[in-house]
Amino acid sequence: MTVSDVLTAALGAVALGAGLLVVTTRHVVRAGLWLVVALGAIAGLYLVLTAELVAWVQVLVYVGAVVVLLLFAVMLTRAPIGASDDLDRARWPGALIGAGAGAGLAALLIDAFRWTRVDLPEPGTAERLGAALFRTWVLPFELVSVLLLAALVGAIVVSRPDIGARVAQRRRG
C-alpha cells in the first residue's frame, strides 16, 4: 500500500458513501448537497490519478454549474423542504439490479487487473491535455461545440411553450 493507494481508498469511501446518500436520502435538497460531496471526492480521485485538468474541470463544471442547475430545478419545482416519503418506489428490485451491476462490473475489472501495480504517468496538465485535444481530437472537439449550441437552442425551444404549440393547434383545428 502506497500513499496514493491510501488516498484513493479514502476518497473512494467518501464518494461511495455520499453517492449512497444521494440515492437514499428522503430530503430532495440534501440529495443535491450530498451530490456535491460525491463529485468533490471524485475530483480528488482524479487528482490522485494525475488528471489535473480533468479534476479542475470537474470542480468547475459539475460542482459549480451542474449541481447549481439541479438545485435550481429543485427550487423551481417546489420540492418539499422537509422529508418526503413518496420519493422511492419499491426498493428491492432496484437494489437487486444495482448491486448486481456493481458487483458484476467490479468482479470483471478486478479479474482483469488483479493486484498489479503500475507507476503513475506524467500528470495530465493543461499543456499536455491541450496538445492531445487539439492534435488528435480536433474534430470531436468541434463537434462537441456544435452539440452544445444545439442543446442550448433545444433547451430554449423546449421551455418556450409558445414556439411549437400554435402550429400544432392550427394543424389540429
Binding site: V23, V61, Y62, L70, L120
Partner: protein
C-alpha cells in the same frame, strides 16, 4: 498505484447510480443518479488512462472532458424538459406520466385539467399557465 482500487470504486458507484435510476420517482433525483453513473464512467476512463499505456497519450482524459461537456448539455435539456413538465402537470413524478398521449390528443382532457387547476386557485403561476391553456382549449372547442 494499484488500478484495481479505483476501478472497483467506479464499478460500485455505477451500481449506486443504477439503483437510484430504478428507485427514484422524482425526475430531478433521477437526473442526479444519472450524474453518478456518468461520473463512474469518467473515473474508469481516467484510471485506464493512468494504468494502460495507450498509443495515443492522454486519450482517456480527453474522453473524460468530452463526457463532462455532454453531461452539461444533457442536464440543460433535461432540466428544461422537467420544468416544462412541471408547468404543464404540476408534478415531476415520473410515475404520473402517461406512456402515450392518446388521451390528451383531442385537447379536451388537458383543458379540463387546466380549468380544474384554475378553480382550485393553487398559485398565480398555475393560474397564468392554466388560463392560457384553457383559452386555447375553448378556442379549439369554438
Amino acid at each position: 498505484m494499484h488500478p484495481a482500487l479505483p476501478f472497483t470504486i467506479a464499478a460500485l458507484l455505477f451500481g449506486i447510480g443504477v439503483y437510484g435510476v430504478l428507485v427514484r420517482r422524482n425526475a430531478v433525483l433521477l437526473l442526479m443518479a444519472v450524474e453518478l453513473m456518468l461520473n463512474a464512467v469518467n473515473l474508469v476512463f481516467v484510471t485506464a488512462d493512468a494504468s494502460i499505456r495507450a498509443a495515443v497519450p492522454q486519450a482517456g482524459q480527453s474522453f473524460t472532458l468530452f463526457i463532462i461537456v455532454l453531461a452539461a448539455a444533457e442536464i440543460g435539456v433535461g432540466l428544461a424538459l422537467i420544468l416544462q413538465l412541471y408547468r404543464l402537470r404540476r408534478t415531476v413524478g415520473v410515475d404520473d406520466l402517461p406512456l402515450s398521449d392518446a388521451v390528451e390528443a383531442p385537447g379536451v382532457e388537458a383543458s379540463g385539467d387546466a380549468e380544474r387547476a384554475v378553480a382550485a386557485g393553487r398559485t398565480a403561476d398555475a393560474q397564468r399557465s392554466g388560463g392560457h391553456a384553457a383559452g386555447d382549449g375553448t378556442g379549439v372547442a369554438g
